[in-house]
């Protein structure tokens, strides 16, 4: 009996070893993941905090000392203020415009049977699929012909164009999700169109509406190609100013500050989206192509 006893005990040890191995692998994987995302951001944070009196270069792995001088410099001596203002005034308008334009379209796409719906959905995706710089260059020619080049309105229109696809996709999914029974019940109880909109549709699409607006806002803040061609040099947004700091005018520390300024509202959005909205919307708008 002793030989079988020891054979049986051995397999328990073996099993534990295998389990531990997998646990280790998982932890390793998780660490790699965190470093993958964390290090680039950390580096940039450090660069933005470099003390101008003690420059950071090889062989130091960390900056010799930290200071907020760079931040002060960027705000005092560059056009960052103007860029911030432009970015954050174009974005809300673009979001509003894309909302207004998307609502009726999403309603029809989400709730009615349309011939060629697949084709229509593809058309909706065009601004995302079309290579950005091509659209930027030649739309700017169209704009120039109509006097929209280098104008605020032109910028808003361009940003709206890039935001609409996300807005429509998310809203279409939202509208689609409303059960027909609920609407039928409302009609059966005598609801007018206005009441239907106010009491049924609007509340039920609210999460989707919010998600769409956040997407649209983010898209507008990040938009580069169109803004670069249509807006510069009259208008600067955060992306274009970052680009200028990365050109032959490369000052790593300035660029770091601007990069962080650009990233932070986005990351806050990320956590809002993750926490308060279902990530279904993310998957729905990106995945269901």
């Amino acid at each position: 009996m002793t030989s079988t006893d020891s054979k049986m005990a051995l397999h328990l040890i073996q099993a534990r070893r295998i389990r531990n191995f997998y646990l280790l692998l998982m932890i390793f994987f998780m660490i790699v993941l965190i470093l993958w995302v964390g290090i680039p951001i950390l580096m940039t944070v450090m660069w933005s905090l470099v003390d101008p009196k003690k420059p950071w270069s090889y062989p130091n792995v960390f900056p010799p000392s930290f200071s907020l001088a760079q931040w002060k410099y960027v705000f005092d001596y560059t056009n960052i203020g103007r860029a911030l203002r432009t970015s954050y005034s174009v974005a809300p308008l673009a979001v509003l415009l894309s909302l207004i334009l998307s609502l009726p379209t999403s309603y029809v796409l989400g709730r009615k049977r349309i011939p060629g719906k697949k084709l229509l959905m593809l058309v909706v995706l065009l601004p995302i699929i079309m290579p950005g710089m091509v659209v930027a260059l030649f739309l700017s020619r169209v704009f120039a012909a109509f006097g929209l080049s280098q104008t605020f309105i032109g910028l808003v229109l361009a940003h709206t164009l890039m935001s609409i696809p996300y807005m429509i996709r998310v809203m279409t999914t939202s509208f689609q999700a409303i059960p027909q029974d609920v609407i039928d019940a409302a009609e059966n109880l005598g609801a007018s169109t206005f009441v239907k909109i106010r009491d049924i549709f609007l509340p039920m699409i609210r999460p989707g509406l919010l998600a769409g607006m956040i997407f649209a806002f983010t898209v507008s803040i990040e938009e580069f190609n169109l803004t670069f061609i249509i807006g510069t040099p009259t208008f600067e947004t955060i992306p274009t100013i970052l680009y200028s700091f990365m050109g032959y005018n490369f000052i790593r520390t300035n660029a770091s500050v601007v990069a962080l300024l650009m990233m932070t509202p986005n990351i806050i959005m990320l956590f809002i989206v993750e926490r308060f909205l279902k990530s279904d919307y993310l998957a729905a708008s990106l995945g269901k192509m």
Partner: protein
């Protein structure tokens, strides 16, 4: 030589004990059914045999070989899932030949074996179809074919018929049994359907909350249940308590809440010391009273349900609720008085 052995098998999920110290020996070619309600541990046991669940304690032996650390793809088992689990992106042919492909069996031999199995199950014409184009019954057969073509040491079934309609279920379970007998593969079958278990098993393992309530062939399980759980789970049961007031050579007399009864004590395990016992008999064993019949019971009908070939009667006997079934042809209605007799050998003493 026994083919499959479970020794002190124990499995916990968080704090819940799914399988509690289970011991089972299955002989070569035997068809054993694990029967019980949901959560009784039958599926966990099955999955442990297949290798999907690692036991917390205990061992699993195929013959002399200890299987615990062997991963599921290296065990010589084949499983039929409740959902059939056919590969949706492969044709029926590729589904069935998958196991052979994994075993690196040469193409020619694959072909002959797959064709033979398909013929056995009558699904040759389905070769090129995809699972999405098959009916439930057809999918079931393909799943079965896929499992047996690999000639496994142990065949495992996880409630394979639950998704079929009643008529198909009865038909297919017989086919499964015939197939198994013909091929002689040791089989473990999991179900919660007692009719199924009784119809096709060599032995039934009745399980509840992780442990074995009773183990035996269908006839014994039905006619001689050992616990109130088994008695109530399979077939209908009237379960009562009584006090022993007399013992004779082959009979004992009990005093119960509905009167004195005499029961046969042959083949019963009756403790010498305790006088209080729990016992059971089946409603269908009750006969309409005729003169001289044993254990006369008089009751007032609360509800009589006419079901065609039998009438199901719920009655009150001296304040006790009792159930009886009879093929009596006259019409019985609530409020009538009726007298039954219960044969002495219809009773079983329960140990819990």
């Amino acid at each position: 030589m026994s083919n499959l052995r479970l020794i002190n098998l124990t499995k916990r999920f968080n704090e819940v004990l799914a399988v509690d110290n289970m011991n089972l020996e299955v002989t070569d070619g035997e068809f054993v059914t694990l029967l019980g309600p949901s959560g009784c541990g039958k599926t966990t046991t099955l999955r442990s045999i297949a290798g999907f669940c690692y036991p917390d304690e205990g061992e699993i032996f195929f013959g002399e070989k200890l299987m615990n650390n062997i991963s599921p793809n290296k065990r010589n088992t084949a499983m039929c899932f409740q959902s059939y689990a056919l590969f949706p992106h492969m044709s029926v042919w590729n589904n069935i030949s998958f196991g052979l492909k994994m075993q690196k069996i040469p193409k020619q031999e694959q072909k002959t074996r797959v064709l033979k199995v398909m013929e056995m199950l009558g699904i040759e014409e389905l070769q090129k179809r995809k699972p999405g184009q098959l009916s439930g019954g057809q999918q079931q057969r393909v799943a079965l074919a896929r499992a047996i073509v690999t000639e496994p040491q142990v065949l495992l079934f996880d409630e394979p018929l639950s998704n079929l309609d009643a008529k198909l279920r009865v038909q297919v379970r017989v086919e499964i049994r015939e197939m198994q007998k013909r091929l002689g593969i040791t089989t473990i079958y999991v179900t919660h359907d007692q009719d199924e278990a009784l119809a096709i098993s060599d032995r039934i393992v009745v399980m509840d909350r992780g442990h074995i309530e009773q183990l035996g062939d269908p006839h014994t399980i039905y006619r001689a249940p050992e616990t109130s759980f088994v008695a109530g789970f399979i077939g209908l049961a009237n379960i009562y308590e009584g006090t022993i007031i007399g013992r004779e050579a082959n009979r004992i007399t009990l005093d119960t809440s509905f009167g004195k009864i005499v029961i046969s004590s042959q083949d019963q395990k009756i403790s010498e010391t305790f006088s209080k016992v729990k016992f059971v008999w089946r409603p269908e064993d009750m006969k309409i009273y005729t003169r001289g019949a044993p254990n006369r019971v008089k009751g007032k009908i609360i509800q009589a349900v006419f079901m065609g070939n039998i009438t199901d009667i719920f009655m009150d006997v001296k304040g006790n609720k009792m159930r009886a079934q009879t093929d009596e042809s006259r019409k019985l209605i609530a409020g009538d008085t009726i007298e039954f007799s219960i044969p002495e050998d219809a009773f079983n003493i329960l140990r819990s």
